[in-house]
């Protein structure tokens, strides 16, 4: 199995997602890829930050993989990604498979 090497995102739990989006965009040069009342994705230069409401997903590090199902039973998320959560020394991780985009 190919060993992942790219940190796709870090997910942080916040009490108020819209307020957190305002704070992060005010202090950091990041682009709001998606935001609603319960979830936001901020794209930074080299990775992304996911802001989620507390209790939805624990804090975790998501690593990009070509095939999430190679790591267990994959769940499909509303943004089209498939993933498997696992436990690593130091915290939770997520093996993330992004939807394939067709080549030009």
């Amino acid at each position: 199995m190919l060993k992942p090497s790219r940190l796709d995102h870090v997910a942080l739990a916040v009490t108020d997602v819209p307020a957190a989006v305002r704070w992060w965009t005010e202090h950091f040069a990041c682009r709001v890829k998606y935001a609603d009342a319960t979830w936001a994705q901020l794209d930074f230069e080299n990775t992304s930050l996911a802001l989620v409401t507390e209790g939805q997903h624990p804090l975790h590090l998501g690593f990009l993989v070509p095939d999430a199902s190679a790591y267990g039973k994959a769940q499909t998320h509303r943004d089209g990604t498939k993933s498997v959560y696992a436990q690593a020394p130091g915290g939770a991780i997520e093996y993330v498979e992004r939807p394939t985009t067709s080549s030009p």
Copy 2:
């Protein structure tokens, strides 16, 4: 002040740093930049993971900045970085200034 955009590292607290280094290098394609009994830095494709012993530094996200002192009173670390810790919605962050390397 320039808004940071690059995630320099994510720091995770672990109970046993050498055992954690073994686990992470077994499961991920990452390079051990530094490792001792209390601290390790693993370089991934697009960012780094710092493994620290519990209680040393809380879990945090470190963002690269040109001048850490612009964010408060900077402390100098044993790896030559200077940084300022702060609180963000979702958790602790660190504004990290890397030592300047001379151009070739």
